[in-house]
């Protein structure tokens, strides 16, 4: 019950914000005054109605995971986000070893196989992408300056990055 109500509230707020943003859409002579706003307004309205239905007529709660799994998933999200920003400044191999290894450890918590799968996947996929498939923009490794690293990581910090 509670899950659906929370979901409904979140989507309701989003829908109202979306509607508000839709009324502010800039228009000019070529587009006409109303047409660029029409469809977004329709979508926002339908979404708001659906959200209200969820709030007032929620389904039973799903089975949410235990606390340990939440922590593991939080770590996974953080690792993936860091991986996303570090792929350019550090190159492919080093971040992939860590990201793949940590994910592997979280699915099956045994250190040995996790390290092996991290190293194996990183090197194996690099050879596959670079030489078998010939993807151009993958670089094996780069040694970054401190400033570049900070640039990359600061993207993830709200209001600091760009």
């Amino acid at each position: 019950m509670a899950s659906d109500r929370i979901l409904g509230l979140i989507t309701l707020i989003t829908a109202v914000a979306y509607l508000a943003a839709a009324t502010q859409i800039e228009t000019n002579f070529f587009s006409g005054e109303f047409l660029p706003k029409l469809f977004p307004l329709m979508i926002g309205t339908v979404a708001a109605i659906c959200s209200l239905i969820l709030v007032f007529k929620p389904d039973p709660d799903p089975e949410w995971p235990a606390r340990g799994s939440w922590i593991a998933m939080g770590v996974a999200v953080l690792v993936l986000a860091l991986y996303a920003v570090l792929l350019t400044p550090l190159g492919f191999i080093v971040p992939t070893i860590f990201a793949a290894g940590i994910l592997s450890y979280q699915i099956s918590p045994r250190p040995g196989p996790a390290v092996l799968s991290g190293i194996g996947l990183s090197l194996g996929l690099f050879v596959l992408f670079k030489y078998a498939l010939g993807l151009g923009n993958i670089v094996a490794w780069r040694t970054p300056t401190a400033a570049k690293l900070w640039d990359a990581i600061s993207i993830l910090i709200p209001f600091v990055g760009h």
Binding site: D4, L7, A15, Y18, A21, A22, I25, E26, T27, N28, F30, S31, G32, L35, P36, L38, F39, P40, I43, G44, V46, A47, C50, I53, K57, D59, P62, W64, P65, S69, M73, A76, L80, A81, Y83, A84, V85, L87, T88, F92, A99, A100, L103, S104, Y105, Q106, I107, S108, A114, S117, G120, L121, S122, L125, L133, L135, G136, N137, I138, L156
Partner: protein, 501 residues
């Protein structure tokens, strides 16, 4: 005789050694993708699109490769259903009902071969149906104006919403999320940004590939972290594989009936392969009656859903190619591929790019034969691949997704967006909000809005124009019926539970 001439053209394109090689690679990859639990046809094809794109294949080759992957995944889904009792993809759920019990009786090999043959029959008949029906429908599609297209898109969302979730409000919400995301970016007619919140990265809009890979592939990783990859070990033994001629002959009428049912279900925009296998199984079950023994491992219970599922996969290509409206999650992903390759599906595709359409159809026929040959004698190889542990597979899939998206744009923003979509996909799927309407919304949002805007311009803002022709009115009625009917048929349409040990 038009069809034969066109087919000859198609085989002329598809039978070059290189495309044949691609078809075989695609079939092999596809079967693996379908068989591995956690990797279905939609996310398998989605991960491969960026990579195909960067390989620089031309339109026909890319299309041949990806449709063979698509058909292959449909074949492969049955392997994990039968051996692990885990459907490799959603349509394969019905195959577990009789496939797993049969495998537990020590007839795993028979079940695999029988389901392979049923898949072949279903897919072959559906491809023939596609050849006969698609050109006719393409001619009808010329009658479609903006009002009809708008109603047709609506129909797709409504029927998909009716089938995809147990709660209509949730599937409508999902469609709105997708459509809402599609509106982000520079407006084509005014040239001004819309709904970007001032973020420069959003001026181009949200790439649908980012959303697809995030919602399908990255979300899967979170599910595996939650379950710690349990329940993915093979519980039944596979002995020598022989061809069960007796069972195949006994189920021939079942296969034919199920193919017809599945094909029709596949054509309905938005309904897709899950509905096809479900209806095929249910039809056969009620025809056989109580003493048919469905659910205990009877051959008919395996042949019906597999033929239905593969026939629906072919049927779903009909609305996708002729109208540009996909019939299932995977065809939505294929539509994304076509758009990436700058091919606009629709009636004009058949007249302007016949080599693409007929090359595709010919390669479907080739892929089908290759798959039958691959899946009957070589089934043991695929079974061995199934034993790849989840703790290697899922990190691997994640890294491939990252590289695929990274190779498209080289931007960290798309990667972060993909992780965000993955997280969103996890929560939404947990709460029974279907993710396929989101994908469809992102893909079709722009076209749907264009249709509406053109209709409004043509009619000078008269809303009644949207219902002005018989076709448009019919589509509106079908859309409303498709959305409302499942609410009343809920008890009838309830999906059977998986068999438990």
């Amino acid at each position: 005789m038009d069809i034969l001439a066109n087919l000859a053209l198609g085989f002329g394109v598809a039978l070059s050694p290189f495309t044949l090689f691609l078809a075989i690679c695609g079939c092999f990859l596809g079967t693996i993708i379908g068989a591995l639990p956690g990797l279905g046809p939609s996310n398998g094809v989605a991960i491969l699109i960026p990579i195909t794109f960067t390989l620089g294949l031309d339109a026909t080759s890319a299309l041949v490769l990806m449709t063979s992957v698509y058909y292959g995944a449909m074949y492969g889904g049955r392997i994990s259903s039968i051996l692990l009792n885990i459907p490799g993809d959603e349509p394969a759920l019905m195959t577990t009902l009789d496939g797993y019990p049969m495998a537990k009786q020590g007839r795993a090999g028979d079940a695999l071969v029988l389901s392979g043959v049923a898949s072949f029959v279903g897919a072959l008949l559906a491809t023939i149906g596609l050849m006969l029906l698609a050109p006719t429908l393409a001619r009808v599609a010329f009658l479609f104006g903006p009002a009809e297209y708008f109603a047709l898109y609506l129909l797709a969302f409504c029927t998909l919403g009716g089938m995809a979730s147990n709660n209509q409000a949730k599937s409508a919400l999902a469609a709105c999320i997708g459509l809402g995301i599609a509106m982000i970016g520079v407006d084509s007619s005014s040239g001004l940004p819309r709904l970007t919140g001032g973020n420069l990265h959003l001026y181009d809009g949200v790439d649908f590939l980012v959303a697809i890979v995030g919602l399908f592939a990255i979300a899967e990783v979170f599910f595996f972290i939650e379950s710690h990859g349990k329940g993915s070990s093979i519980g039944v033994k596979l002995e020598k594989v022989t061809i069960p001629w007796k069972d195949i002959m006994a189920t021939k009428w079942t296969m034919l009936r199920s193919s017809a049912v599945g094909f029709v279900a596949g054509i309905l925009p938005g309904a897709g392969a899950s509905l096809g296998s479900f209806l095929a199984y249910m039809t056969e079950k009620s025809l056989a009656g109580e003493k048919g023994g469905f659910g205990t491992g009877v051959p008919k219970g395996i042949a019906a859903p597999e033929a239905g599922n593969n026939a629906a996969a072919g049927g779903a290509l009909v609305p996708m190619l002729t109208l540009g409206v996909p019939g299932s999650g995977t065809t939505a992903v294929l539509l994304a591929l076509l758009m990436t390759l700058n091919i606009t599906p629709g009636p004009t595709l058949f007249t302007e790019r016949p080599e693409v359409v007929w090359g595709l159809i010919a390669s479907l026929l080739i892929a089908n034969v290759v798959l039958l040959l691959m899946n009957v004698p070589m089934v043991k190889i695929f079974v061995r691949i199934l034993s790849v542990p989840a703790w290697v597979l899922l990190p691997g899939v994640t890294m491939i997704s990252f590289v695929g998206i990274f190779s498209l744009s080289g931007s960290y923003f798309d990667l972060l967006l993909m992780v965000g979509f993955g997280l969103m996909g996890y929560f939404l799927r947990k709460m029974d909000v279907p993710t396929v309407p989101i994908i469809l919304g992102i893909l079709l949002g722009g076209n749907m809005e264009d249709a509406l805007r053109r209709a409004m311009v043509l009619s000078d803002g008269d809303v009644m124009y949207l219902f002005s022709t018989p076709i448009a009115t019919g589509l509106w009625i079908a859309a409303i019926a498709g959305f409302i009917a499942p609410m009343f048929l809920r008890n009838l349409l309830r999906k059977p539970q998986r068999v438990t040990d």
